[in-house]
């Protein structure tokens, strides 16, 4: 447990499919930051650290955003790791606060992301995407995750209806989240009859592209105690970057490497957590992460999907996740963390998990060639 740092507030700029012309990346990030500070009860003038992750800030950087937001600080960072950016920024912010380099850090992310921006981003995601994948034409990462889904289906003997459990369960959560872009209840028939995007992936296996922003406020334990409201402590954070040089199958990931160390450092077991907020770019990766981190104890993935996830509605991605709430570019990395903080602080409204004390939050992403290369996870705990 970090003795020094607590998460005391969270915010989300309302996700939208088609933003109006005057709403820019900065607009979404600013809204999320202000909401998070409001939630924490901390004035902007007391912020002395700022971290941001965004695909569409250029040519601006963190410092330009600080200026525009009116933040003067003694600590800053900018993260480029997309889906893995939130846990990474939290890891750095926590250490900065422990070391006394800063006391109150805002961690933010956001993107104005429409179809054209999305394609430009994926075609130039990195040099390999630009030179070796985009010219095929690959047209975004869907085909790569169709391959991983096929591979995992074969490995675990899963059917299309098994995979459907993830989008179906998350949609059920989304019906209780006014901030999700898709909230209409969904049936297995809706899923099976939907448009094939890259078989076996259907439209409901691919995140809807949205614009939005997310933010959390991290401060010292001392200051958190003075605020009086419940806060969130950080039991442990572990990460694994580029563990296999893309030579692996993408199914046994860096999460398997960090599993034992993560639970030991956190002083708890997978069965102790009250919910999981797993980076959900595709259903297959939700499963791979849960399995690699030890949350499917008997190894029976089909049973876990149909029983634990769908029937028992064990809390995974209680906002509806990116699959129903939407993927706001790099804000997708913070989306699950914001939801976990809401749940652990007891402010998740209609979808509140009763007595949520311990949560698992993961980050995954940055496809180098065939699969993601960044894996990180945090165990968070309600304090007060």
């Amino acid at each position: 447990m970090s003795d020094g740092a607590r998460i005391v507030g969270s915010g989300e700029a309302r996700y939208v499919r088609h933003p109006s012309v005057e709403r820019r990346t900065e607009t979404f990030i600013a809204e999320a930051v202000m909401e998070a500070l409001d939630d924490a009860g901390i004035p902007l003038t007391e912020v002395d650290g700022f971290a941001v992750s965004s695909f569409s800030l250029q040519p601006d950087h963190a410092i330009d955003l600080m200026w525009k937001l009116g933040i003067s600080a003694r600590w800053t960072m900018e993260d480029t790791n997309g889906g893995a950016s939130a846990v990474n920024m939290l890891q750095h912010a926590m250490r900065a606060i422990e070391a006394g380099d800063a006391e109150t850090i805002v961690i933010a992310s956001g993107d104005r992301m429409e179809k054209r921006e999305f394609h430009l981003m994926t075609d130039q995601y990195n040099k390999v995407a630009r030179d070796y994948l985009a010219p095929l034409p690959l047209n975004g990462p869907n085909a790569l995750f169709a391959f991983l889904t096929q591979r995992y289906a074969k490995q675990e003997s899963l059917t299309q209806a098994d995979f459907a459990c993830i989008p179906l369960a998350q949609r059920a959560w989304a019906t209780k989240n006014p901030g999700a872009v898709y909230r209409k209840p969904m049936t297995l028939d809706d899923y099976l009859s939907s448009v094939p995007i890259a078989p076996p992936l259907t439209r409901f296996d691919c995140v809807p592209i949205v614009s939005g922003g997310n933010a959390i406020v991290v401060t010292s334990a001392e200051k958190a105690a003075k605020l009086g409201a419940p806060s969130v402590g950080i039991r442990a954070i572990r990460a694994s970057y580029n563990p296999d040089h893309q030579d692996g199958d993408g199914l046994t990931t860096g999460f398997a490497d960090i599993r034992d160390d993560l639970w030991t450092a956190a002083g708890c077991r997978p069965e102790d957590v009250d919910g999981a907020w797993i980076y959900d770019d595709y259903p297959v990766m939700v499963l791979v992460q849960l399995q690699n981190l030890g949350l499917i104890p008997d190894g029976d993935v089909s049973r876990y999907l149909n029983q634990t996830i769908l029937e028992d509605a064990w809390p995974v991605n209680t906002s509806g996740g990116q699959l129903s709430a939407g993927q706001a570019g790099a804000a997708g990395g913070l989306h699950g963390m914001v939801e976990s903080v809401r749940q652990l602080r007891g402010v998740a409204g209609e979808r509140q998990v009763p007595d949520a004390q311990l949560g698992l939050v993961t980050g995954y992403g940055m496809v180098l060639y065939t699969h993601g290369s960044c894996h990180n996870a945090a165990i968070l705990e309600r304090i007060g």
Binding site: Q150, R151, I197, A198, L201, Y369
Partner: protein, 141 residues
């Protein structure tokens, strides 16, 4: 039209890198030579639905969008290659890897991986370009 499919081979330990790297991840050597990689087996296939009818590539070319058949090829020498495959090629099939530097098209019965499409290179110089419907490839009846 197409050429040998080539990967980087570490001069010191033989590690095969595709796409190429600066340093060998197993022995740290900085010296690589070229290695032809031509035989492999299809391990996964998908047909990616066109997303937009027409869109512009980052370097300016316009691309007509059609459904594209893509596959993971597990090469006999190890590396997994993401490739464009002709219709009819399916999981378990043995294939020959080829590459076409400037147009990246698939010849019937062969597989073309994503070698660089050179910035400014024209799409479809004499042959079908990227995004040509698979049924229009030369020799396909």
């Amino acid at each position: 039209m197409s050429s040998h499919f080539v990967v980087a081979k570490c001069r010191s330990c033989g590690y095969l890198a595709y796409p190429p790297r600066i340093a060998c991840p197993t022995c740290g050597s900085l010296e690589f030579r070229r290695q032809v990689l031509d035989q492999g087996t299809v391990t996964e296939v998908t047909t990616r639905r066109p997303v937009n009818k027409r869109r512009q590539l980052p370097w300016g070319n316009w691309l007509d969008q059609h459904a594209t058949r893509l596959a993971t090829i597990t090469s006999d020498l190890g590396p997994r290659i993401v490739a464009l495959v002709p219709e009819g090629v399916d999981v378990g099939d043995r294939v020959t890897l080829r590459s076409q530097a400037s147009t990246a098209i698939a010849l019937p019965g062969q597989v073309v991986a994503g070698q660089p499409l050179l910035p400014g290179g024209t799409v479809g110089d004499g042959g079908p370009g990227i995004g040509t419907p698979l049924s229009d490839y030369p020799g396909r009846k």
